[in-house]
Point group: C3
Chain length 441, copies 3
């Protein structure tokens, strides 16, 4: 058997388009974040050496969880400043690669791509059986045009890559999914280094280098037509959540959880340790309920993930939403929303998750209106946020960490971090000349 390549996991991005959510690679699904998931997959597939290019948050997480991967050779590298995009990430790792693994093959992966393990399996199979081929790349079979890079083929071999060709000009229906395997990576790394020297501020250095490599020596495609989710905008958390929810096969209730016999657990639900589920609660799977969370009386949770130490208080409903840890609800409706951590809502605060005209919801990202391509989308909230009673948040509105939304506020615009938004309500106070009416049964 051929020696397994060194894996290079790119998890160093800045997540600026992900605001108000923090670092996208440490977001947990079913209790595990994406870094952890990738590492576990690679271990299971027999990889033994890994370099992780890390953002600060990923780095800290790896350091504090290092003992969990002690039988696996992981090198953590912080992503350097100065070179944008994937090229910057790869170059941050090059020093490490050359020191420890020089001469070994290299498998480059993006941490915030989510797809099935079959991609790796097929990639490894071809790698073993096709010793004649130097470069293997995963190609995603596109059903509906998306603005990605598309492979150009000649005689079944990739000979180039075309970025965002437009719907009518796709050179093939196979798009570039970053699972790139180089039997002899040095040639590719040198290309990146060279281009980066000339024009370090470009975003597409990696792709240009890849295109050049393809032109010079071609590459073999490993086609894939399963599910592929990319975490780019914050609402993508919902699609990634769905991806993992759909992997739940059976209901699994930790023995330490207390589930009232007057509660209803319907379909596939994972209930972690210490969870309490009160009378009249209904959980419609697929759902994940994190450690020590309380699902209160007369509540409904559907197609959602709820983190640890949350309280889904009396009469609340959570539908198709991602709730991180320490979320406190109280007679609220949370639909198609993402709440990061340490957030509480006063009674009667609700999310609007559907426009009155039921059209696609646009979200402001870095001052640009982006079509989310969702007609159901609620709010997206950072950490440490409070909502007053009877407040209402409009579809697609984002709220920065450390901000308070006052009682009765109807919030139709994003609220930056560390702000208080209060409604200025004018009152008319006059004498009450009505006689008192005594209520009767």
């Amino acid at each position: 058997m051929t020696e397994k390549p060194v894996a290079l996991l790119l998890a160093g991005g800045k997540s600026t388009r992900f605001w108000p959510l923090s670092e996208k690679n440490t977001y947990t699904y079913l209790g595990k974040n994406l870094v952890e998931r990738h590492i576990e997959t690679l271990k299971r597939l027999g990889f033994r050496d890994l370099i992780v290019v890390s953002s600060d948050k990923v780095f800290d997480w790896l350091v504090s969880n290092s003992e969990r991967f002690s039988d696996f050779n992981i090198n953590y590298v912080k992503q350097k400043e100065g070179i944008n995009g994937m090229a910057g990430a790869v170059l941050s790792a090059v020093e490490n690669y050359r020191t420890h693994f020089n001469g070994r093959s290299l498998y480059i992966l993006n941490c915030n791509d989510i797809y099935d393990d079959v991609v790796h399996e097929n990639m490894m199979e071809k790698f073993e059986n096709r010793a004649d081929v130097d470069v293997f790349v995963a190609g995603y079979e596109i059903k509906k045009y998306l603005p990605l890079g598309y492979f150009i083929f000649e005689s079944g071999k990739i000979v180039g890559i075309k970025e965002k060709p437009g719907e009518d000009k796709m050179p093939s229906n196979l798009a570039n999914l970053v699972a790139h395997l180089f039997r002899n990576p040095e040639k590719f790394l040198l290309k990146i280094e060279k281009i980066a020297k000339d024009k370090s501020n470009k975003d597409d250095i990696y792709e240009v280098a890849l295109d050049l490599l393809f032109k010079e020596q071609g590459a073999e495609v490993v086609a894939y037509n399963g599910r592929w989710e990319i975490l780019k905008y914050p609402w993508h958390v919902l699609s990634v959540m769905d991806y993992f929810l759909s992997e739940i096969r059976n209901t699994l209730i930790d023995p330490s959880a207390e589930v009232s016999d007057k509660a209803i657990i319907s379909d596939k639900v994972i209930i972690a340790e210490g969870v309490k589920i009160m009378e009249g609660a209904k959980i419609v799977g697929p759902c994940y309920i994190g450690k020590n969370t309380v699902i209160g009386n007369n509540t409904m949770v559907r197609d959602s993930m709820v983190g640890e130490n949350c309280v889904i208080g009396f009469g609340s409903e959570v539908t198709r939403s991602y709730l991180g840890d320490e979320i406190w609800l109280h007679t609220n409706y949370i639909g198609d929303s993402i709440l990061e951590e340490n957030i509480s809502l006063g009674s009667g605060a609700v999310t609007g998750n559907l426009r009155l005209d039921e059209q696609s919801i646009f979200v402001t990202v870095k001052e640009e209106k982006i079509n989310s391509n969702r007609n159901k989308l609620g709010m997206i909230v950072g950490t440490d946020v409070r909502f007053g009673v009877n407040s209402a948040i409009m579809p697609g509105v984002k709220i920065g960490s450390g901000s308070f939304v006052g009682p009765g506020v109807i919030l139709a615009k994003d609220l930056p971090e560390n702000k208080i938004c209060l409604v200025k309500q004018e009152h008319l106070i006059k004498d009450n000349k009505n006689k008192i009416i005594k209520r009767k049964h």
Copy 2:
């Protein structure tokens, strides 16, 4: 046995005071509209010939349902323009009558009057037994004065009619209920034709003709003291609904309906085919739940009719309300309200159905404030309306078809058709200097 009269059903009115609700005669109760109900009653009582003076909507309904009445001789006539009131309706039918049924007796009925079958039965009995009498009219025993026409009696015989005499000047306690039977109708029809020629724009031609006829030849009264509902203003739908709800004798659940054993069906409830009733729902009869409607978790429906394809979503309450087809609720309170068709409400939208001073609720009808004589009355809504989250609609407010009520709007005035009403909420946004508090269990 005497030959049954030709029945003449007046269903051609314009329903302008019925706004924002559409045509009142095609409103369904327990799944049947008023036209259908009248036709079925007449068939059951042995009538075989019927002329229906129809509005456009009634006409269309009759045409598309004609095969259902194939064993019954129905002539549809659209009401002509030009002559107001009941006289206009009768004259629209006269041509038809003279062509097909000349010489036969004639029984004139108003489609939007709702009363017990005993009226017809008693009328027919007298008609058979009192061959000496030419004209029979139903007289409603008034307990509390209402502005109707009252019969004037001499020696037990009607000799005139007095319109709206005032509470102190009622000539008798018997009011004119339009169930008018003419053994030889030609004389009456000629009177109407003559008066209409002289003053076609009057509203009371029919009544004047009747009064003249009474003066000339007298009439026999058929007294009635049961329930009588008149559909004139839109809130009358609620009284008519109560009339039909009170006729439900037993709970009746279609075998195709799915009723959770954790739901409660209390008292007399009709549940149509394909209905789903979820856990924690409670339906307190009398109620009617139309085809394929979903009554969601932890909901309450009382003393109401709910149409087809509705979703009474999580945590909603519907009390003493008429909901047409395709109504979508979501954590709402709907009390004493009428919602016509294709309406959805965002979470937390509610109806106010009681004034703070608990007095009678006035409703604006054609720019006039009309006392509804109800102290509980919610909203009245046309078709194709959307309500934003946490909106609140004040008692007696009407909303035109095709309009949107924005989130957080407190609507205290009628909203015309095809409008969007948004609240202009001013916000004060300042820096949040509070330190972050971590919530703990």
Copy 3:
């Protein structure tokens, strides 16, 4: 056995700081008011003679309930105007005392102090066994400084009293609790009379007289370290409620109550006669539910007292709150609140009971901001108040009797009596150009 002293119960205060709540001594807990509780305690302990210095409301209550205490010698005295504080109350009673009980020992108690019976028991024991001592006073063992009067000791004997000494200058940790027993009261009464003559407008005449008496002849302390609640500010009703709730030992359901087998009664709950508890309701003790009250479907009541003839309507939650009689809720959240009598709330009206910054809640009392030392406190409401749908009342806000809070009002300031507060909401109404969307299942 020594003859029992005459008891003097001071229940004549004006309760001005108690606004918007009325007279504090006639507030009921577990169905009994404080006057009644004190009288019953004194009877049980063997007292036979009592003078009650009464406010108007206490006086009326005593008169209309006099037959209940017929075997007990009670003298009612209205508190006179002119002399402030406890001295005024005592002097109102002196005439009565001298006429009926002259020469007997005297036990002075404050009606709005709530503490355990052991105080009286220990007091009486010392009174019997220590014939050498003339004055006995209860001393409350302070754990955390409170602005009270503190006893000064010399050789184990009280020799003075120091009012509000400040946290660092407490002469002892025993504070003056008004359970003052005088074997020969005449000397004390004369001192009060004398001081009152010189400076009738002072508030501290009683305390000054007591200090003088201590200096002349000393006094014996009866120490107490149990629970002590003082009703001064309206939110103290909640602490007093907790005091009495904690005394409930077992769940007790009156046989006439109807409790659905789909309701949940958890922990210690007293359910009075005629109560109805509907399906899906949950009552988490300790709780008290008063006569003929209805706890509706899908409701939650926790750690609360609910008075008579209340309706806790569908979907409502009541937590740590005191509800008097005739309170009507409808899909509301009432937390840490006090509602006196005849109050109704429209659907969706809620209390905010926690500041967004989760700090202590301040309440305006007589134009001064008082720290309630609670971080959870809802609203405080007098009698005959109505709340519109979707209104929201901020923490610590007080609402005067006879006032209406309009729909959608966010009330952040106190509302005086007999006012209507409406929100002036500006609307933007424009044409709806959206095409109609038909909802589908």
